[in-house]
Subunit: 332 residues, 4 copies
């Protein structure tokens, strides 16, 4: 297996997760990590070069692939620069909050002829992949209804909410991608309703913390997503696809399979607490898929267009809620 | 326990179910059953008088309570007549498809001072009652999101669809009542989307067979209902209520609790096939509650106003789908 | 459907359950109930004759079938008398604690040519019947291992224990019958171990409250039963049959299908509390089967020989525990 | 974190699993691997020394800890040699099939003052660890009954069976350790019954393929283990502990959490196929625990005495089956 040399831009939480996953893989070498704010004292191992400037990664001709894990506003410019430097790109979502800026970047990537994968890791979760398989194998027939439950265990700080682009671009964006993934179809129209039921400060910041989004798909199916910023019992991530031959339903993951019966009832431990635990496997699997697409010169399983589509749906949802009417999703 | 003498109008499927349930109860005597079309050869037992004319029931001063199980267009006139005759009324849903006609009947009932219960039997199902209890006991805190899955095992004949009033008044009406029941709050605004994915003839008849309905509740909660006329695995009747302290989720009922593991996977038998099996217990329980309200001179647990509200929500949903916009629910 | 006239001997708890079930059935008339100790003030309805003496039932030529629900020591003599009077017999278990006495009674019944059913109601439970069906349908292949979990919610009073014949004849006897039922094979050898872990007074009375019994079946399969007199979470009644093509596993029944998730975990309500709730359906179903066997002149599904076999296994288990060695089951 | 230098004896299946796990860990360096039969062409990485002779590992003063993954007959001699060389030892189970040989080795290890851990990996499985926690936390009170289901997905070749020491020393030995682990108590007496129901060749080789073992524990609890060499639906590994305050029940692990409902029933995928998949996490966790015990100079969580006890119970079970009588477990 050919070894791929990788550089990483951004050493925050998600950058470290990805880099540590790369350390555990065969056929990949992390050569350098650039971050202007990170403390590199105890991490990474000495063999990895570190520094504040992206040029450490972008200007190194030995680096074949770049992971972009820096803040959202840098995603598009770093993707542009990496593409122009002839490097394959794994970019965290969203590519940008402005669809035109994404389109511009996708054009740069296409012109450069490099591969680009966007970090919709949930597609690589074994449970959701099994749901998708039920669709592609014809096990449940033609898709008619998709239901997604997506609830975080705790609301983010208001400071985060203020710059996140709103619940639909920050949180539901994953669910929009999931609807597209499990159906293999595009979203045509969106109707979204939201409420502030958890933290009034989120409302003061102009966002909602509870939302229901209904979608019409190009293949005729209907979909519904419901979100909450706070499920006190932990991260609630479920998907159900219903079709002409049956349904496939994904339940929550838990840390163990134990049921305890006592005088007060029959209990199981709560679902895994949040995305770091819940999507541990899928974070590694998406990088494996990215590296494989490079090695075998294939298309990455989640491309730049997927990154664009989910933002377009998110913007339609935000407008729908603001104007209390269904909104068509803009063409890519 | 005081014995209540009951008459029944309508000996079709639902009329027979109710009457047979009455036969198994203590403290109630079924005196007569009127139906112009029924064949009374083998049923009921000889002790029960039968005949074609409603007067058999309505004009009998010994009859204290009437079950109205006849076709929908007769519900309002029979309710009026029974009320004027001073009889307590159990009326199948919907009371009428026209809210004004329902209002007129509710006024007659109120003027007569008799009790009226509408046949939203699902409220009496032990599983849904347990969900409601989780709300009223404060076990799951303030309600934030309600999700209802309601799928029939097979589509009705098109002839039925043509006179049913459409999916929202015929099928979703139960789910609208369920949302009101579990939340204890009213629906303010509705957005509905529908599709014809199962039987094109249903579309030709002007109806849809697949629907997603999003609702805003007076208490601020959001709700979503999804319906299908055909789930090949059986009757799919689930409710989930999510709140500030947790969630309560009702799974489907099955005929047994057996899991069979084999080379091909781990299997359970399908959910109970349809409403006769699924709601067997609740059909009996709603009548028990009706008789108790008479005996103890209390309010029936589901009143005429509940019958009106669900029709108003259904009409808003139908209009929403027709006009592709959210629609406010009319005041009762 | 021909109406069968029934008399009941014994109006204690189980006698009332059976009689009330008969009241709700078609094609059966309860003519009289005899019990020397019962208070008949508020029950049964006036149409039923009552009195202290068994002759009220046994000497009435109109009575075609007798339910024997009186204390255990009277089972055999009442069965003998009913058989000699030409009446069909439903007898509660055990027929007697002495196998020879049972053999004598079975001979009387056979000579009289009447039908006899023994009250192993669990065979009629829809869940256990489904397990049996998995065997007879070949769904799980040849049976290799049977596992039974049978735990009561609370220990009986010591006064009861003293006359019950011990845990194997009082409690495990049902499980011995279940092993025979689900396998369709006979028990050849038994090894039983017991312990006093719940109530020392049970040990003082010469019995155990916790037991594990291992069995060798005639068809080569192995079986294991574990019993406890006290499961604080309720009645725990599970059966698993494992075979060459898979396994069938029966879970506990619950009053509802609701799961509540909260900060402290994911909870369901406890299993149904005890046999009155858990076996409500099977108590009625066994009587229906008894009446059907009379009407259609067929063999009752659980006969006198089944009553004898379970006692023989129970006696072998008791001896095994006493002598700490495996014991062969005596031939019927 | 201090880096520990490790050598590995045996590069067969289990040796590779352990070594690859070490490669993914921090704070550990695999310096050399010795195996007289292994093909080292494509594995391990070049930095690791390989060779046929155990001296490569045993004579290297830099190596601090040894993993013994060679065939069973070499476990004791290699453990002796490693101990004398002052190295800490992780030894696969069983240490030996002869208790006296194990005792001899344990004496050598004790004299050398090195740490020894035996490879009962299942103790480190998150699900079984949660069951143990339910006991130690007092969540289920005093243990009264333990039930273990342990079924392999397919029978081993007869050639393997012939040298394995029999089902109780090869397969049930893990379950004996599990009973000791979850109860924290010792086994005092064993009664075992076996049958040949899967492969007659296993019977010809003098072994059984189906077994039920009943155990009396020192703390008064009863336990039962049932084993099969072939569950067609996959690896069936369940444990239930029942106590005075409730029960803790471990269900099987599966590759995903999807339920598919169709016309033929409600299905889930089978349990994980075999121990490589099922115990992937616990294989890594036991090594982490071993390395931690070295680093922190603590006792390994599973010691040599645990290895001895499980063999003593296995021998008692084999004798019990052979002589069809309960057998006391020999003192360590």
């Amino acid at each position: 297996m050919r070894t791929i040399t990788v550089g990483v831009l951004g050493a925050g939480r998600i950058g470290r997760i990805h880099t540590n996953n790369l350390f555990r893989m065969s056929g990949v070498r992390v050569k350098s990590i650039a971050d202007p704010y990170a403390d590199f004292t105890n991490w990474p191992p000495d063999a990895v070069a570190t520094g504040p400037d992206p040029e450490l990664v972008l200007d190194d001709p030995e680096i074949e692939a770049v992971l972009i894990c820096s803040p959202t506003p840098t995603h598009a410019p770093f993707t542009d620069a990496a593409a122009k430097a002839g490097k394959h790109i794994f970019c965290e979502k969203p590519v940008d909050l402005d669809p035109d800026r994404i389109r511009q970047t996708l054009a740069v990537v296409e012109a450069a002829g490099v591969k680009m994968q966007v970090g919709f890791n949930r597609r690589f979760d074994p449970t959701f992949a099994r749901v998708r398989k039920a669709v592609t194998d014809g096990e449940i027939g033609d898709v008619q209804i998709v239901k997604i439950t997506s609830r975080d265990p705790e609301a983010p700080p208001v400071s985060y909410v203020e710059t996140s682009g709103g619940i639909f671009l920050d949180m539901t964006i994953h669910d929009f991608d999931m609807v597209r993934f499990v159906t293999g179809s595009e979203v045509e129209e969106v109707y979204a309703m939201g409420a502030v039921l958890i933290d009034p400060a989120i409302g003061d910041a102009g966002d909602v913390d509870t939302a229901v989004t209904a979608l019409k798909m190009a293949n005729g199916a209907l979909a519904v997503i419901e979100n909450s910023r706070q499920a006190v019992y932990g991260y609630d991530q479920r998907v159900e696809v219903f079709g002409s031959k049956g349904s496939a339903e994904a339940a929550n993951e838990t840390a163990n399979r134990v049921t305890v019966s006592g005088a007060g009832g029959v209990r199981r431990d709560n679902p895994l607490y949040f995305f770091l635990e819940r999507y541990q496997v899928s974070f590694a699997a998406e990088l494996e898929a990215f590296l494989t697409s490079i090695r075998e010169d294939g298309d990455p399983p989640v491309g730049g267009r997927d990154g664009l589509m989910s933002v377009l749906i998110g913007l339609a949802a935000a407008r729908s809620m603001a104007e209390d009417r269904p909104v068509k999703v803009e063409a890519p």
